[in-house]
């Protein structure tokens, strides 16, 4: 007997401050005006998405000692935008990324409980933790956190927040290595009990943290097989933490390009990749890996002959992937094998969209990922603000509904309802926190 269709969970990521977001297109609107956020959130709600997602960065990125000026720069305050969006939406979950390093649990617990009340049960917290001294220069406590303490602080932050949310009559006492606090929490228990907790991070420690604490994981998109392996790994980790496999949603981030036909979509995808990786951006990518000033090189010419400077870090405020020497070797081999210029190489290696095709093709691919347990859905990242999700909602969502794997109306009111997650009871919360 076939198992019933899994229901797909979809979320909308507001276009971020990296080169995925195309600002040069005539259709690209404001990245900061509230109307842009309203448009995208209402589109997601029209499409019956589970939630709207905001990322966070607390220091402007720098490249070669100056503010990186080739991508979108600047964004509003996460929680303030989400509280305002609660006024213009009714069902859509509202997920905010907020750092635990530069905030204290009492204030964080209060802010997320406030959002949960003001949205009538739609709050989610994507908890990130940094040990980044560069970002720390904007804060009174500075970049004091050792890298090894990151997940310790994150775990103690969520444990402490849960103690506050669960505190009988608000009274709490917490003594731990990171926090030694006591008093009265003044926000009554919020509609979801605890806001939905999201964890982003693919390292071993990150996966374990997610298995122990998170309601949803924001991971990176990869092949179907890699997704299945990740899913299986997380299921095993959940069991080790005495949690059921249905207590965690796995939601990779994904980009998409649609067209009337698959061929149209691939043509558009190529145009978008060239918008995302302009000549200057191609050189900046190369400089980030090479650790050198390569501004004299022609982006339409071959890779430079020099090797990367292994010790140089010329980009700050951005996650760094892998060992530069190894990455450079791979890049050089790919360029030679495929006879690619610098720009074409960067497009080839960094610019691939997750889903490219007609609405029918994309709907089928998304459904296949979910039904074959590569994930439970996707956090979609449009490349355009604010209309980048319109076409998906108008064309792909109806096809997913026809397939029987996506809701045709909201059946609950809270984000926990949408995600099929239980509302934590007081006793369970206290046991987990002790």
């Amino acid at each position: 007997m076939e198992r019933p269709l899994k229901q797909i969970h979809l979320a909308a990521h507001f276009p971020g401050v990296n080169n995925t977001t195309v600002w040069s297109d005539p259709a690209a609107g404001s990245q900061i005006e509230f109307d842009s956020f309203v448009h995208l959130a209402r589109t997601a709600e029209r499409g019956l998405f589970d939630f709207f997602f905001l990322a966070e960065g607390l220091r402007l990125r720098e490249h070669r000692g100056r503010i990186h000026d080739l991508d979108v720069v600047g964004r509003p305050d996460t929680l303030t935008v989400l509280n305002a969006l609660a006024a213009v939406t009714t069902h859509l979950g509202l997920a905010g990324t907020v750092n635990t390093t530069f905030n204290e649990p009492y204030e964080l617990a209060r802010q997320f409980a406030s959002l949960d009340h003001l949205s009538a049960g739609r709050a989610a917290w994507n908890m990130v933790t940094s040990s980044d001294a560069f970002t720390g220069e904007n804060f009174r406590r500075g970049g004091y956190l050792d890298h090894a303490d990151r997940y310790g602080r994150a775990a103690e932050t969520i444990a402490t927040a849960r103690e506050l949310w669960d505190a009988p009559n608000g009274r709490f006492t917490h003594h731990g290595p990171q926090f030694d606090i006591a008093g009265v929490f003044d926000v009554p228990r919020s509609p979801q009990g605890h806001p939905v907790l999201i964890q982003a991070g693919d390292s071993d420690a990150g996966r374990d943290f997610g298995a122990a604490h998170a309601d949803a994981i924001f991971t990176i998109h990869s092949t179907l097989e890699a997704g299945q392996a990740f899913h299986a790994d997380m299921r095993a980790r959940l069991l080790r933490h005495r949690r059921g496999a249905d207590e965690l949603r796995i939601l990779p981030g994904a980009t998409f390009v649609l067209g009337d036909t698959d061929a149209d979509a691939h043509e558009r995808a190529d145009v978008i990749r060239h918008q995302q990786v302009g000549p200057q951006t191609a050189i900046a990518f190369l400089e980030q890996i090479w650790g050198r000033d390569l501004s004299a090189h022609d982006p339409d010419g071959p890779l430079p002959d020099v090797d990367p400077d292994p010790d140089a870090v010329i980009t700050r405020g951005r996650v760094r992937h892998g060992d530069p020497a190894a990455v450079a070797k791979l890049w050089r081999e790919t360029a030679e094998a495929k006879k690619l210029s610098i720009r074409e190489l960067v497009i080839e290696l960094t610019g691939r969209q997750s889903f490219v095709g007609s609405p029918a093709t994309v709907a089928a691919q998304i459904d296949e990922y979910v039904q074959s347990d590569a994930c439970d859905g996707f956090i979609l990242v449009p490349h355009l603000t604010p209309a980048g999700l319109d076409e998906f909602v108008d064309t792909v969502v109806p096809l997913l509904q026809e397939r029987g794997s996506f809701r045709t109306s909201y059946t609950g009111t809270t984000l926990r309802d949408h995600l099929g997650l239980r509302r934590p009871d007081h006793a369970a919360g206290r046991a987990a926190a002790s």
Partner: protein, 377 residues
């Protein structure tokens, strides 16, 4: 003569400590968005200058049962109200003692974006050890230190608002540049309590700088108020005290190199309006009984008719005792409805108060020009 200012503070079930027990209060709704929206819309119908949304990290009063606590983050409440109002100023309290100036700056800047230019910020301090224990990072400090730190925090917050010049986003396709980084400025603040590098992550807000409100009851609050406040709040039990305070704070503002006519001095007044003076006093007495003791606020208090309150407002305003008032209704929401339907029509009849907002932003309401960034060439 300046324009009369009227604001309302919307905290708890009302300003009177016995309010939450009253039949007309809604203590259970304090955590509902709809409750705050209704209050803000009533204030907007009355064309008040702003709603003040109080906040503190202090534990709730011990007398309050958990069912009547219901205090939410004030910036969050203001943001939730912003998209469903259009004229009223939104002034949440956010404290500086245990918070990060960088976060405060972008939160208020963003409130300015989501309200299309109606944000203000009341900067306050956390005085008690109970508040310090909620954070566990330091002990309670003397008021002198708290206000010195608050002054530094306001300096940092306002520098961060200015750290993006207005035209920093250029979207220059030819050169591939989204932003002109020469128009983004580090603020490089170093003080006794913290240092902040900047620039902000949030572009310059619609008003340039949202209005800064500072309450001056303690001596140490004078320094940041004189230096930074667009609006000064104070307590004064009578007209003479208020007039003397206003003259001194205006002198202090001038001594700090600022224009005293650009700073509004608002006196807190606790009110209970009724059809007759007796009627109003009866309700006040009832609140006293519910609160378990006769309660008299530090600042002035009025229980009487709308026209009686209009007389008081007119007298204090014309005598130079205040540029206006922050009304603290003893009981909410009824006390605010009484302002909108009772006091404000009387003041309008006397040509003392506006019939409509003069512009779109809170600066427009206060007749204050949008300031240029201090970093603009």
């Amino acid at each position: 003569m300046s324009t009369l200012r009227l604001a309302v503070e919307i905290g708890g079930a009302g300003h009177h400590p016995g309010a939450w027990r009253h039949d007309d209060a809604h203590p259970g709704r304090l955590v509902d968005a709809g409750y705050h929206v209704e209050l803000a819309r009533t204030a907007e119908r009355a064309t008040l200058d702003f709603v003040a949304i109080p906040d503190t990290f202090a534990p709730p009063p011990a007398a309050l049962p958990p069912s009547a606590r219901g205090r939410l983050d004030a910036v969050a409440v203001a943001a939730r109200v912003a998209p469903v109002t259009s004229g009223i100023g939104l002034v949440p309290t956010a404290t500086t003692t245990h918070t990060e100036p960088f976060h405060l700056s972008k939160a208020i800047a963003t409130l300015d974006y989501v309200s299309h230019g109606r944000a203000g910020w009341e900067a306050d301090v956390s005085r008690t050890e109970a508040e310090a224990r909620h954070f566990g990072r330091k002990h309670a400090a003397p008021a002198e230190d708290l206000y010195a730190e608050a002054g530094d925090a306001i300096e940092v917050v306002t520098r961060l608002w200015d750290s993006w010049e207005d035209d920093a986003v250029i979207r220059d396709v030819a050169t591939g540049r989204y932003v002109d980084r020469d128009r983004l400025h580090p603020i490089d603040f170093t003080g006794a309590f913290f240092s902040v590098r900047g620039p902000s992550i949030t572009p310059r807000p619609p008003q340039g700088r949202p209005l800064v409100v500072v309450r001056v009851d303690d001596d140490p609050a004078w320094v940041p108020a004189a230096r930074y406040a667009d609006v000064v709040r104070t307590s004064a039990p009578d007209l003479e005290t208020a007039r003397s305070f206003r003259a001194r704070i205006r002198a202090a503002v001038e001594a700090a190199g600022r224009d005293p006519d650009a700073v509004a001095v608002l006196v807190d007044i606790a009110t209970q309006l009724g059809r007759s003076a007796d009627d109003a006093q009866r309700t006040w007495n009832e609140l006293d009984r519910l609160g378990g003791r006769p309660w008299r606020p530090e600042s002035s208090r009025f229980a009487g008719t709308p026209s009686g309150l209009a007389d008081l407002v007119e007298e204090w305003f014309h005598e130079g005792a205040a540029d206006g008032f922050v009304v603290r209704p003893a009981l909410l929401p009824a006390g605010l409805t009484a302002l909108a339907d009772g006091l404000v029509p009387v003041l309008r009849e006397r040509d003392l108060f506006r019939h409509a907002y003069p512009g779109r932003t809170l600066r427009d309401t206060f007749g204050l020009a949008r300031p240029a960034s201090r970093y603009a060439a």
